[in-house]
């Protein structure tokens, strides 16, 4: 289990992470989302024990992380740009990780080497971006961590490899309760991969929830009323996040219980009534809009 309590991290005057508390249970795949510069990478690096927070505590399995090598032995952090030693090959890097991580599994390394068909003697600097990413995942999983932290891991991978890596992560989660924390802007991928998500903006956590609960909590309603005046009393009864009108069809984004929302609309026997769950991308955009961060409709 990973526990952050009231974590704040400054860079000089700038507050990159602002009073964030977070609990990630064992065996969870947690997706960290957020606007550019929201503080995702800072939060991940604090979690991995790379940064020391100005205040608050970070604990993994009840142990402090920063400057605690015995805790870090169970954590693998993959930065957004994979780092390898200059001139090194996969074989060199494997030797290094083998000496650092007591949990290193030769068996897993060999199994994964079959999956990732990479030349292990070749210099990693000559690999493409996607191949370097594959090498990082091969090495990371061979360390058999309890916690795997990945910053933007999906970038540069082809669809076959994405599926392969998803499958590998799912196996590790199902088999030995690996905890995975992933940051990404690719919301489609996050939606398929994660069971919990947190959305950050300006160093704060806006919302943090079970992904299905999050999706079950916000709905998109498309409706055409028999009388235009019917829409007025609805706003008072429901928690409307957003509304717009396209011709005679109204679009509402409503928070709350599905049945209750449906009942509220059905009273007026509308001509058209469609209640849809939101996609993660839509939730992200509306939540960000709520926080005052939205795309401006500008015609150039």
């Amino acid at each position: 289990m990973i526990e952050l309590r009231k974590v704040t991290k400054f860079f000089q005057e700038e507050k990159a992470v602002d009073d964030i508390s977070l609990t990630v249970h064992k065996g969870t795949i947690y997706g960290l989302l957020g606007s550019n510069g929201a503080g995702k990478t800072t939060l991940l690096k604090t979690l991995a024990g790379i940064y020391r927070p100005e205040s608050g505590t970070v604990k993994v399995a009840g142990q402090a992380v920063f400057e605690h090598p015995e805790t870090k032995r169970k954590i693998v952090f993959m930065p957004d740009t994979p780092y390898f030693f200059p001139q090194s090959s996969i074989r060199h890097m494997a030797d290094f990780y083998r000496s650092i991580y007591p949990g290193w599994s030769e068996k897993r390394f060999e199994e994964l080497s079959i999956v990732f068909k990479l030349d292990q003697g070749r210099k990693l600097s000559r690999f493409s971006k996607g191949m370097q990413r594959q090498a990082a995942i091969l090495l990371g999983l061979s360390c058999m961590p309890d916690v795997l932290i990945m910053d933007e891991p999906i970038d540069g991978l082809d669809p076959v490899m994405r599926r392969q890596i998803k499958n590998l992560l799912f196996q590790e989660v199902a088999g030995r309760e690996l905890t995975v924390i992933i940051s990404s802007h690719n919301l489609r991928e996050i939606e398929d991969l994660c069971d919990h998500v947190g959305i950050m903006h300006g160093g704060k956590m806006l919302i943090e929830k079970d992904l299905d609960d999050l999706k079950a909590d916000t709905h998109k309603v498309q409706v055409a009323f028999r009388k235009e005046s019917h829409e007025i009393p609805l706003a008072a009864k429901l928690q409307v996040l957003h509304r717009e009108q396209r011709g005679s069809v109204h679009l509402f984004i409503v928070k709350g219980d599905r049945e209750r929302i449906a009942a509220a609309f059905q009273v007026y026997e509308p001509y058209v009534f469609d209640l849809l769950p939101l996609t993660l991308e839509e939730i992200f955009i509306y939540e960000m809009g709520d926080a005052g961060y939205d795309a401006q409709p500008i015609l150039l």
Partner: protein, 129 residues
């Protein structure tokens, strides 16, 4: 056995629950038959194991399946009360569809023919097993 639509807005665990229910109702999955393990299903479908766990948990709560510690999940025999609950739910849905059918000009004979078709399909499903 399970085909999921990842593009659908419907949550994956609800889709999974729907599929398992369908297979049970059509007699393709029979009472006390073992369901695939969370791990193998996760690998087959490339779906988060926690999501599959959740679907199984909900199905168990609804009385469709039961689980044995360390052995896996199995199809529960249909219980009478559970049947009644489902029937009440389905009645509402059928009524709504029926209203639409009436509006479109379906005759009683046509609706009854559909009933028999469904009955035949179910018998065939049982026979194949």
């Amino acid at each position: 056995m399970f085909e999921l639509d990842v593009r659908s807005r419907k949550p994956i665990y609800e889709q999974l629950m729907g599929k398992v229910k369908e297979l049970i109702l059509h007699g393709i999955l029979q009472a006390d038959e073992q369901l695939p393990s969370v791990r193998s299903l996760s690998s087959q479908l490339t779906v988060n194991p926690n999501t599959i766990q959740k679907a199984y948990r909900e199905l168990e709560r609804d009385g469709y399946i039961y689980s044995l510690q360390g052995k896996g999940s199995f199809v529960a025999p249909v219980r009478q009360e559970q049947n009644e609950n489902q029937k009440a739910q389905l009645r509402g849905e059928l009524l709504r569809l029926m209203a639409e059918a009436v509006y479109l000009g379906f005759t009683v004979a046509e609706v009854s023919a559909l009933y028999h078709e469904a009955e035949e399909q179910r018998e065939k499903g049982m026979g194949n097993d």
